[in-house]
């Protein structure tokens, strides 16, 4: 069913970081190959294909991944199960030792760090949320959230005070004394989120954090996540297998298949210029009006043409559809300074809303 009114409230707008924000986390030519003597094989065949690797009795979970994740952005790694996204994020945090390549965080190569340096980095700079929450069953909510601080050796009074602040932030203040098993799934993941934030990390990994939750709770948690990010502005690496979640939350999305990053871009870029059929397969069933922006779909104005109401280039088509449809002339798409970038015609809006396959 298609209606001209937005079907649901527009996602809370993200404080989108500037596209030229400096890169915070960089990985170059990262490989993870499982099997005997994988390193030696990779040294001899730096450009090995999937078939060659399989022929050698090895298995490539991540192949030649290169990424730049910018400061303050929500970077989504999206792929189906077995695509290597979990392995990739674990290579970025060095939970899994990459076979080859380099990972830079603040100009330091993670892969060259000693165990002690790595412990320091993880204690103060990284936080991670796990798919199945990974709560410690023997600790209360407070004990779980205070855990990273306890590991750092912070005194009981201080760490509990700081933990309580974060618990309040995720809205669980009344449950601080409860044990994980006494909480619902959504509440448990709130604890997981609070715990990952307790040490105030700059870099926040979320590994399919909402996959284990039912759809209604998932939606609520996504909003909660966006709310937190607006307050905290972390650099985020977020893994999901759900493309809807990816476009809802992500500033940029990397799509993975069989260990390879196929394409990186904003949701709109993926939709307008898919790198392969695999990518367009994902975008096909998405409500296009909620992804495409007026600026992305507008066409040049014929000189002297009369234009209707102005709509901002960054607004989603779904949000401006009513304005465009109600007007007599095509809407003028303007940038932040008010300069006209192009026009948006009724026919184009209908086409996007009704959603013919491209």
């Amino acid at each position: 069913m298609v209606s001209l009114a937005p079907v649901e409230a527009a996602p809370p707008s993200k404080a989108a970081p500037a596209a030229d924000a400096p890169a915070a986390l960089i990985c170059r030519n990262l490989w993870k190959v499982y099997g005997a003597n994988a390193e030696a094989f990779l040294r001899e065949h730096p450009e090995a294909t999937t078939a060659e690797i399989r022929a050698a009795g090895l298995f490539a979970a991540v192949r030649d991944a290169t990424l730049e994740i910018r400061q303050g952005e929500i970077f989504i790694i999206m792929g189906l199960s077995g695509s290597g996204k979990s392995t990739l994020v674990r290579c970025l945090s060095r939970l899994v030792e990459p076979t080859a390549g380099a990972v830079f965080y603040e100009h330091q190569n993670l892969l060259r760090m000693t165990p002690a340096e790595l412990i320091e980095l993880r204690r103060h700079k990284m936080g991670m949320v796990f798919q199945n929450f990974a709560l410690l069953p023997h600790r209360t909510v407070l004990g779980n959230v205070a855990f990273p601080l306890e590991v750092q050796g912070i005194g009981k009074a201080e760490r509990e005070e700081r933990a309580l602040e974060v618990i309040e932030l995720v809205g669980l203040a009344e449950r601080a004394g409860h044990y994980p098993r006494e909480l619902s799934g959504g509440q448990q993941q709130r604890v997981g989120i609070a715990r990952s934030l307790a040490a105030e990390p700059a870099l926040w990994f979320l590994d399919e954090p909402f996959s284990a939750l039912d759809p209604l709770i998932r939606h609520e948690m996504q909003n909660e996540f966006l709310r937190l990010q607006r307050m905290l502005s972390k650099t985020i690496v977020f893994i999901t297998h759900d493309f809807d979640e990816a476009i809802r939350l992500g500033d940029r999305i990397a799509i993975m298949k069989d260990g390879v990053i196929i394409q990186v871009g904003t949701a709109e870029e993926l939709m307008l210029n898919p790198a392969s059929d695999y990518v367009s397969e994902f975008t096909r069933h998405v409500a296009r009006a909620k992804v495409l922006t007026a600026g992305g779909v507008c066409v040049p104005v014929t000189p002297g043409e009369a234009l209707g109401p102005a709509v901002p280039a960054r607004s989603r088509v779904a949000d401006v559809a009513q304005i465009v449809m109600a007007a007599d002339a095509p809407a003028a798409v303007v940038d932040a300074d008010g300069a006209v970038l192009g026009k948006l015609e009724k026919a184009a809006v209908i086409d996007i809303l009704v959603g013919g396959a491209r």
Partner: protein, 662 residues
């Protein structure tokens, strides 16, 4: 990675070789019967070929005890040091529970009383209430009340103090070793192999060398107990740590835990439930050992039971002490199990728990303090005691009068028509034929190398000159296993069909498993006197539990959609059982058979007390003659039998499961 496929588990089918192997086996079995003169050497093992394994082992142990040295100190000094250490450690729980502390010489300067019996009963009751509510509290009260009222308290506390120390050492050592094996993958294989071996060697086998090296007394009793009870703790620890979700391990690393922090703050607490299950097992195995440990001087309740078994008219007393062991075992078992189930709570519930704990503590200390003024609270006066000793003796006489003829008829029937013929056949079986059968079966399951290994295990029996006793063991064990399965299969089947039956069987199996193995001997001897029949009945009773459990569990594990598919295909109930459920559950049931065999083997040694002439008997004789070589070689033979059965069944189950894609 799972991508590297392992399709090799299927049993090979090589028809031509298969026929040749079958032919060779048949020849090895049949020729000695067809041409006895020519193949006499293949029938009864020539005594000239016997390898003096016992003598070698004996010489080795003598060398250990006399000459072995680690440079700085000798082996003997080490065993002395260890036994001294345990002796001191044992003084602590012993003083608390059993003797109290005498100040000055012989208590001249005063006496600090032991914990009051009333205090212990009160504390056990209150703590049971904390752990498991009203029912467990009742159980604790009745169990320890029985021990006090029926005059078993002094012996029971001697036993309990040893149990406490053995459990503490067993749990701590087991967790330590388990963590080590988990952390250092290089030694994991060695530890697992050692555990496998330790769990198949019957306890008796190391009693003999232990007595030889450490001497008779409570300490060697405890060492034997720890050796017996610790391996499962190691295994449980390794499994529990492995079962901690990988995410928790990742969490530990991502929060920047040092290895020690990640072990003690994340892994071990997360494995709590599994570890506590291990603690429960250690407690039960320790109680299982108390009578065996009493044979080498541990004293306590075990000694009372043992003494009763040795006396002609002591059965009544023995039953009374045996029931005290049972009471203690059941109470400790249920308490430690309730501890596994105990979930953390917050707020009022947590405060209530803390309160109950301290109330129990206060009762314990309060009654003990009070016993300074009221000596009856330290030692229960004789007048207050009830003894069933006479009652049980009366029961024994009544049974003798009224049931003896029936029992004797059963006994005679079993002996004449089952036991004696099978035994004669087994002992007279050509040894070469047995080896050929073993090797042929193993070849079919796992190829040539497996066949050689399995045959070597069995070949040890004739080579060490243990043929007759070994075959007696095999005969008793296999008859017991068959009977146990004949009882266990239908019961397990009924359990899988009805919830009520399932619960009833569960409770019955729990109780049977809680009983220390020796307890089975008392009523059996009462009915069937000493001899093979008593041994058989005791073994069947003891080893039946896994037959019921695994059958029930296996049949319940059949997926609902398979049952539905069977029904929709028009199966009758019997067809569904035969064509769908049993084939699916068979691997699980075979694992049950494996367990039955293991339990039967361990019970065999115990049952040699009631007069069988098997490998267990040889160990028993070795203890009384202080011949460690004989004891050890018989123990090895039983261990090899156990390993053989375990590997064969394991192979079969593995192949079958692989074929069914499980």
């Amino acid at each position: 990675m799972s991508d590297i496929a392992l399709d090799d588990a299927e049993p090979r089918t090589r028809p031509s070789t298969g026929w040749l192997v079958a032919l060779a086996v048949a020849l090895a079995v049949l020729l000695p019967y067809v041409a006895p003169g020519l193949f006499a050497w293949a029938k009864s093992y020539p005594s000239a070929w016997i390898v003096p394994v016992s003598d070698w082992l004996k010489a080795f142990l003598y060398w250990l005890a006399r000459d072995a040295t680690f440079g700085l100190f000798t082996f003997k000094e080490m065993t002395r040091f260890i036994s001294g250490l345990f002796g001191y450690a044992l003084d602590v729980p012993k003083a608390l529970l059993s003797t109290g502390i005498n100040l000055g010489e012989d208590g001249a300067a005063g006496h600090i009383p032991r914990l009051s019996w009333a205090g212990i009963i009160a504390a056990v009751t209150i703590w049971s209430y904390l752990l498991g509510g009203r029912r467990l509290a009742m159980l604790g009260f009745i169990g320890f009340g029985y021990i006090a009222l029926f005059g078993q308290w002094d012996s029971a506390m001697v036993t309990l103090s040893q149990v406490i120390l053995a459990v503490a050492v067993g749990v701590a050592g087991g967790i330590g070793l388990g963590i080590l094996a988990y952390r250092v993958p290089r030694i994991e294989g060695a530890v697992v192999a050692m555990l496998d071996f330790m769990q198949t060697v019957p306890t008796f086998a190391y009693l003999v060398p232990l007595v030889f090296l450490v001497g008779v007394g409570p300490v060697s009793g405890m060492l034997a107990t720890i050796l017996y009870a610790m391996p499962p703790m190691v295994r449980v620890t390794m499994m529990a740590l492995k079962r901690v979700p990988p995410e928790l391990e990742e969490l530990a690393r991502m929060t920047g835990c040092e290895p020690r922090q990640s072990l003690w703050k994340v892994l071990v607490p997360s494995a709590r439930d599994g570890l506590l299950v291990g603690v429960n097992q250690v407690i039960m195995l320790t109680l299982n050992m108390i009578i065996i440990a009493a044979m080498i001087g541990a004293g306590g309740l075990g000694f009372d039971v043992l003494n009763a078994l040795r006396q002609a008219n002591g059965l009544g007393k023995g039953l009374e002490a045996g029931l005290a062991v049972v009471a203690m075992a059941i109470v400790l078992d249920r308490m430690s199990r309730a501890l596994v189930e105990l979930r953390p709570v917050h707020g009022d519930a947590a405060a209530r728990r803390r309160r109950l704990f301290w109330v129990g503590m206060a009762a314990l200390i309060g009654f003990t303090a009070l016993s300074l003024a009221v000596p009856e609270l330290e030692r229960l006066p004789n007048e207050w005691r009830v003894s069933t000793g006479n009652m049980w003796s009366d029961v024994v006489s009544w049974v003798n009068l009224n049931l003896f003829s029936t029992a004797d008829a059963i006994r005679t029937f079993l002996l004449i028509y089952l036991l004696v013929p099978v035994k004669t056949f087994m002992i007279g079986f050509p040894w070469l034929g047995l080896l050929a059968l073993v090797a042929g079966g193993a070849w079919a399951l796992g190829g040539w190398r497996f066949a050689v290994g399995m045959a070597a295990l069995i070949a040890f029996i004739p080579m060490a000159g243990l043929w007759e006793r070994g075959m007696t063991t095999i005969y008793l064990c296999s008859i017991a296993v068959v009977i146990a399965m004949l009882i266990g299969l239908p019961l397990g089947f009924l359990g899988s069909r009805s919830e009520r039956m399932h619960n009833f069987l569960g409770a019955m199996c729990d109780t049977l498993q809680t009983l220390p193995s020796f307890v089975y001997l008392l009523p059996v001897v009462m009915l069937f006197r000493i001899g093979d029949v008593s041994a058989l009945v005791a073994i069947v009773l003891y080893a039946m539990v896994p037959a019921i459990r695994f059958t029930d569990h296996g049949l319940r594990g059949v997926p609902a959609n398979l049952n539905e598919a069977g029904t929709m295909a028009g199966c009758t109930g019997a067809q569904r059982l035969a064509k769908v459920q049993l084939p699916y559950a068979l691997p699980e049931i075979m694992l049950g058979v494996n367990q039955v065999i293991m339990m039967a083997l361990s019970m065999l040694v115990v049952s040699s007390f009631v007069g069988t002439n098997d490998l267990g008997k040889q160990i028993q004789v070795a203890i009384s003659q202080a011949d460690p070589g004989k004891g050890l070689s018989a123990g090895l033979a039983i261990a090899f039998l156990g390993i053989f059965a375990d590997r064969m069944i394991g192979r079969w189950v593995g192949a079958r499961r692989a074929r069914m894609g499980m």
